[in-house]
Symmetry: C2
Subunit: 482 residues, 2 copies
């Protein structure tokens, strides 16, 4: 049997950390005299009790814990579940059903951004702040996991991004702590800069802060039902476009840039591909849009840049119902959902480096079909790819697509029409947020879905955030054997 | 530059063979006094002239030709185009537009079965016979290519099915000719058996013959707009189910069975998986169906067995509008389209052996994620997989899915709604026939699609029939260089 004591021990610490985060809205609401402070206060106590119990019950005499690969997978998966269950309590205490509370929380911490809450403007500000905070924390959480853990677990080709560190475990721990510290500072500074610019461009303090949190985390929760269309401001859309991109590039490159290697950020193959892809598709779509509507090219480019960046970075803000731009736009946006941002960022979906590697693989594969004796070296960022990366990337893609198919069938068996079932499945697994159609589309709301479908989508969002494979390993009976 | 003389030489012979096939309806129509005999007669002359010219113009002094890999790819691709262009002339001469003629012919020879012809009952019998003949010839053509050529070209893991033969090229040629001869005899006998049973169960001679041809070839063209629903007969549906399956199992196993190794057919992992899959999904869907409608379990099982087998074997007959069985059924049928029959048969799509190999790959990949040092041997049919097969299969799947995405976007840019665009793209590339929705669904007709969409789908059907990769190689500039 797999030893789960050290796993539970870490989960206890994660619960304690959740309690720490919950303090903030509790204190803020109490200070502002909002009545929902007790919801946060109760949850803080609950989380702290759960956390302390788990930590104490699983205390070891050995000093700091050493994990094997399977325990690391388990912590990664159950960590999200623990946070989700505890962080959903404030929603439950302020009137949402259990299903809705868990759905909304999972959507928040996985930075998906699909919502079941309606009439956002009438909700207590504490709840709106909590949704934004959850996305913000979820965002920095996934960056940490993507930089430190997934490369070691070799999930979906992530071994490509292993940090070189010295051999002693003390130094490894030091490097890891330093990296996470740096990421946290950069992430916070980007959020403050974004909030300041939102404020300058016309948002009030509250909207500026909450939207900055959900922009950098590429989460996409808004405080208004109409999302960014509410503000009707071109300058706000451009600020959002820039900061959604900033949340979707590899945070390791920021660290390198701060340490003086600014070149790394500019010459990185993934970042370049990402920017070129966004620019090209925004311009092409803007040309399509001015043929559909009587607007200027700049207006069109603002709309397309914002909404395309929002989908590709898996944020999910909308400044317009792009599914009303004609059938061609629907087809394009459905494919854009799969793209994703860069590795080691807050973005979900397939991600640019995998697409670049797949293009390399397919080109080489085709050449070898007609010239069997040709020797070809696959490269990424100028360096030859490690031997197991191409296979890992292809296996990831296969599992990713198969998972979407399975969830589509499940949802359609629950009575959802095929467009809703398919696009909801895609948008959940890619952690984008909105799908296609009147229910889950950019101008719809997930509230009217049956409860069963909400649970299926909750699982799909978690699967997507864990690159599917990190969740799938736990379903193999061998995983639990000794 | 790639030498194309021997390629054109073979294309000339293919054109001559097409002329030979065209003789049959010409003579039959003349004998029956049908006025459209001249359409076939003119086409026969045209095909013979084109063929003879190409053959003579590219005659070599070297005796029999030796092909390199690239020339083999080119013959395979252009062979279909040559047959398609020549065989479309009878449609053109009897009133169809050029676009419709080429679409209908490509749909026929690739055994897809999507149709742009309406009011089938009013069409001249010669044309109905021609459609069925084209599917029948296309079916035996793809079996020959899948047994002899694709394994040598290592397309999508087909190297797994290389026939062991001796080393001298004379004996190789002899083995190949013998194999094709055997396949042809078995294919013809199955067709006759099917026609006889159709006749016994109530079809007239003409319907029995044409439907037998389009059943064994898993093509799916009917002589009635309502397809199998026209006959309203349970026994006919069961006959069709059995013979659709017989056309979708590996023909090499029939040859082995005839040579006394009957075991091969029964114990083959692919065939077992195929039958178990069909049986399980038919029974489960029948249970679903009796909950939706007031019919007996046997009635439901007849409907589900027939329609599921029709989709999975990529035939495309319909005995009912299964898209009206509720959203769950739509989701299931959309996924079933991807499955396909066995290798070396007339079926298209992904195919059972690839799905079985993918499941092996993913299981092993997951186990290696949490036990990195584990050594696992992938097997198929009891034997270890050749080293390059898993990668080939994954690369095939990736290209297959990406091609469907690309065609979906293209079709939606032409104004098709997303369900029509997506399902038409899937059904064309998998060579199934019907899609989802009122236009391309089982009770719809492709006639009303814009011409551009018909050309896109014509290309998609060809791509699907050539396992996508055999067409893609010709797009690489290196393919044409020396």
């Amino acid at each position: 049997m797999l030893e789960i004591r050290p796993v539970v021990h870490i989960l206890g610490w994660i619960a304690c950390a959740t309690a720490g985060v919950l303090c903030l809205p509790a204190v803020a609401d109490l200070a502002a005299g909002n009545p929902e402070w007790h919801a946060f206060f109760t949850t803080t106590i609950a989380a702290a009790c759960v956390g302390a119990t788990l930590v104490l019950a699983t205390q070891s005499e050995r000093g700091h814990e050493k994990f094997n690969v399977r325990q690391a997978f388990l912590v990664t998966t159950l960590g999200w579940v623990t946070v989700c269950l505890l962080a959903s309590l404030p929603f439950l205490f302020t009137g949402s059903s259990f299903t809705d509370s868990v759905f909304e929380t999972m959507s928040a911490i996985t930075t998906t951004g699909s919502t079941v809450l309606t009439n956002l403007e009438t909700l207590p500000p504490g709840i709106l702040l909590w949704r934004a905070m959850l996305q913000w924390v979820g965002g920095v959480g996934i960056i940490a996991i993507a930089i430190l853990i997934l490369p070691l677990l070799r999930v979906g080709g992530m071994q490509l991004f292993k940090i070189e560190s010295s051999d002693t475990s003390e130094e490894k721990l030091y490097t890891a702590a330093l990296t996470i510290g740096n990421v946290f500072v950069i992430y916070s500074l980007l959020t403050l800069a974004c909030a300041a610019l939102y404020f300058v461009c016309g948002m009030n303090e509250f909207d500026a802060l909450t939207h900055a949190m959900t922009t950098i985390s590429t989460g996409g929760y808004s405080t208004h039902d109409a999302s960014f269309a509410y503000f009707d401001s071109q300058s706000l859309q451009w600020v959002a476009t820039v900061f959604m991109i900033s949340g979707a590039v590899p945070f390791m490159l920021y660290i390198k840039a701060v340490r003086g290697n600014f070149d790394a950020l500019v010459t990185d193959q993934q970042v370049r591909g990402f920017i070129i892809f966004l620019a090209t598709s925004s311009v092409l779509m803007a040309i399509w849009l001015i043929n559909q509507r009587d607007i200027s090219f700049f207006e069109a480019l603002t709309l397309t840049s914002f909404n395309i960046t929002s989908i590709v970075t898996t944020t999910g803000f909308a400044s317009d119902d792009y599914t009303a731009w004609g059938p061609g736009a629907v087809g394009v946006f459905l494919v854009l959902m799969f793209v994703g941002g860069c590795s080691g960022s807050t973005a979900g979906a397939i991600k640019i480096y995998r697409l670049q590697i797949v293009i390399e693989i397919v080109r080489a594969h085709i050449k070898r079909l007609f010239s069997p004796n040709r020797i070809l070296t696959l490269r990424h960022n100028g360096r030859p790819l490690p031997k197991d990366v191409p296979f890992s990337v292809l296996a990831f893609l296969t599992v990713f697509i198969a998972t979407i198919a399975a969830f589509t069938v499940l949802l359609s068996l629950m009575g959802l029409d095929i467009v809703t079932a398919y696009s909801a499945s895609v948008t959940a697994i890619t952690n984008v947020g909105p799908g296609i159609g009147s229910v889950v589309g950019p101008s719809g709301n997930f509230a009217t879905l049956p409860d069963g479908a909400k649970w299926v989508l909750t699982l799909a969002m978690l699967a997507g955030r864990l690159e599917v494979l990190a969740l799938l390993v736990t379903l193999d009976p061998d995983f639990w054997r000794d």
